[in-house]
């Protein structure tokens, strides 16, 4: 979806820009399609909750709050911000130095983390044998070079492991390829799932399966267990402070000195919206809001 949404972006933007010129009270947000579902849900809640701008801040006019959220990819989140197409950019990676320079000290907030957990069913042979994996082991397993359990640990049976992955549209695949596989290729024998939910269902029922999957989605599922990577367990703390390496930040970015309306929405994303972040299977950055 990440790239196809480029098709949709101009059409949506045309929609977004027209009313925006009529009344300047609307906000335009665009960028990463990984962040899109979170931010568009937050935007809907925000519009519902606030209603008119004067209720959020009495200094503002009595116009209806309208937030348009479009995809376009992380690159568009930065470019659109530069050329003024959007007021807020969604970016699911760190900003490049050149981008920070062009935007001239942008206001950036990490509002969520997208992390990859290595998971199996609780009854998997690996569950008893291994507390975690090294990056090299993971590359061996997911490239298909270590195809049976005994390749991972000699005590385990010589039974084939089943590799589960999201299809290419999952952001986790990008992180995993970049941080773990590097130049190696994912095994062609992997099963690809169209949704994380379908993958987890399979993982719960197949004890021979191993998967890398969005950390937020595995959560507290008692039928599954997650593994440490290079000795670091994927706890929320380790993910947020960056010790757990298989993760990327999700940013919301504005130009320096954002207008009041932009600031209000950013505050909302960093505040009440954190519950939505968690609901959508991502890792919220605010621990205090962990318990609703």
């Amino acid at each position: 979806m990440r790239h196809l949404s480029r098709l949709a972006a101009p059409a949506l933007l045309a929609l977004a820009v027209c009313p925006a010129s009529a009344q300047d009270a609307s906000l335009r947000v665009g960028g990463s399609t990984t962040a899109l579902p979170i931010i568009s849900t937050c935007a809907a809640h925000f519009m519902e909750k606030v209603g008119t701008w004067d209720k959020a801040d009495p200094s503002l006019g009595k116009e209806q709050v309208v937030v348009y959220v479009t995809g376009g990819g992380s690159g568009f989140g930065v470019k659109g911000l530069m050329n003024g197409t959007i007021d807020l950019g969604m970016v699911s990676r760190d900003l490049k130095e050149s981008e920070v320079k062009t935007l001239n000290q942008p206001v950036t907030h990490v509002f969520a983390r997208d992390a990859v957990a290595i998971a199996t069913s609780a009854a998997s042979p690996l569950s008893r044998a291994k507390p975690g994996f090294t990056t090299a082991e993971l590359a061996g397993i997911f490239s298909g070079q270590m195809a049976v359990f005994s390749h991972v640990d000699a005590k385990l049976p010589a039974k084939a492991m089943v590799l589960l992955t999201r299809d290419a549209s999952g952001g986790v695949t990008e992180i995993f390829q970049e941080r773990v596989m590097k130049k190696q290729r994912l095994s062609a024998g992997r099963l690809q799932f169209p949704s994380t939910a379908a993958l987890i269902k399979k993982l719960e029922t197949n004890d021979a399966a191993i998967a890398f999957v969005s950390a937020g989605a595995v959560g507290q599922d008692p039928q599954l267990r997650t593994y440490a990577v290079d000795g670091v367990t994927p706890t929320q703390e380790n993910i947020v402070n960056g010790k757990y390496s298989l993760n990327r930040p999700m940013l919301i970015v504005s130009k320096p000195n954002p207008p009041r309306r932009v600031q209000l929405f950013m505050d909302y994303v960093m505040g009440d919206c954190q519950a939505t972040v968690k609901d959508m299977g991502f890792v919220p950055v605010r621990t205090a809001l962990d318990k609703p």
């Binding site: 790239h3 098709l7 290419a168 024998g189 690809q192 799932f193 169209p194 029922t205």
Partner: protein, 315 residues
């Protein structure tokens, strides 16, 4: 009496005048209706042409620089997010042919037996149940077949295999999906065989089986073949069930218990992630083009066979 006699012609002229107006109205409605149906036909044909044109326009064979046609079609792996990216669709062709071939091979004998029952053996009451049942089977959405297979066959086979998702299971479910099409075509072909031939045979004291196998089956063979080819065409285009049941693994299938990713599943899985006019996008559109050409070719063969069959039936 006189009054009624007088009023009668007046009534006639009256109805005549009134009758004229509806006739003009009817002519207008006729013209409008004719134009509207023509417009609808033109629009749908144009739409079809645009779709085909768009797929041809967006395809590049081979899709990437430095990739030969043979590599694209047969030898290269599919790994668009690897480094460097690879765009071979051979594994998907192999999976498609494997799954569809196996499905048709499983469905055809069963379909012919069903067709024989419907057209030759079934009493009218049984026929009245069997025919609509077949039509209902044909109308069940693919996702339901896929889901039922996923919930029953996959766990069942997982008792023995690492994963239940295999070429075999995809073929079994696809066989159920194409069965109604083959059976309906075959039953139609059998019932189209001229009755006098069969009656003459039966009158000569030939057994029912002999009359069927020597006359009906031979006469109907092209029609049955058309049904089989039609079923193949349906199977080639099927996406959802094979995506769910074959494992969606971009691997070259090497046996019944291997996983695979048929062409339709490959396109459905990867298109969403392809940047417009990227090599991956061209590769997927080219895969779609090849699939479309195959299905069109199959339909042309079906039409040809049917025409010959109907021609032969009239002799």
């Amino acid at each position: 009496m006189a009054a009624t006699a007088q009023s009668a012609p007046r009534d006639d002229t009256h109805t005549g005048i009134v009758g004229l107006a509806p006739m003009e109205g009817a002519a207008l409605a006729d013209t409008l209706f004719r134009r509207a149906t023509l417009a609808a036909l033109c629009a749908s044909v144009a739409l079809l042409a645009l779709i085909v044109g768009f797929i041809v326009w967006e395809s590049r064979v081979p899709p990437a620089a430095g990739l030969s046609i043979a590599d694209f079609l047969f030898f290269e792996r599919w790994d668009p997010s690897g480094e460097p990216p690879q765009f071979g669709i051979g594994h998907a062709w192999a999976a498609t042919l494997f799954v569809v071939g196996l499905a048709v091979a499983m469905a055809t004998p069963l379909a012919i037996v069903i067709a024989i029952f419907i057209s030759e053996i079934a009493p009218p009451a049984a026929r009245a149940v069997a025919e609509p049942t077949l039509q209902l089977l044909a109308g069940i959405p693919a996702v339901v077949y896929g889901f039922v297979g996923y919930a029953t066959l996959v766990p069942f086979f997982e008792r023995w295999l690492p994963t239940g998702e295999t070429i075999l299971i995809a073929s079994i479910v696809l066989a159920l999906m194409v069965l109604p099409f083959i059976a309906a075509s075959a039953a139609e072909a059998f019932s189209l065989v001229a009755g006098d031939l069969r009656h003459a045979a039966l009158a000569l004291g030939v057994s029912r089986w002999r009359a069927f196998s020597r006359i009906t089956l031979r006469k109907a063979a092209p029609g049955v073949t058309a049904g089989v080819i039609l079923g193949m065409g349906r199977g080639l285009g099927e996406t959802l069930a094979v995506l769910m049941l074959a494992g969606n693994s971009p691997i070259f299938p090497d046996g019944l218990f291997s996983r695979g990713q048929p062409l339709t599943a490959l396109i459905a899985t990867d298109l969403g992630e392809s940047a417009v006019h990227s090599e991956r996008y061209y590769a997927l559109f080219s895969a779609g083009l090849l699939l479309m050409l195959t299905v069109i070719a199959i339909n042309i063969v079906v039409m040809h066979v049917k025409r010959r069959f109907i021609g032969a039936g009239r002799d």
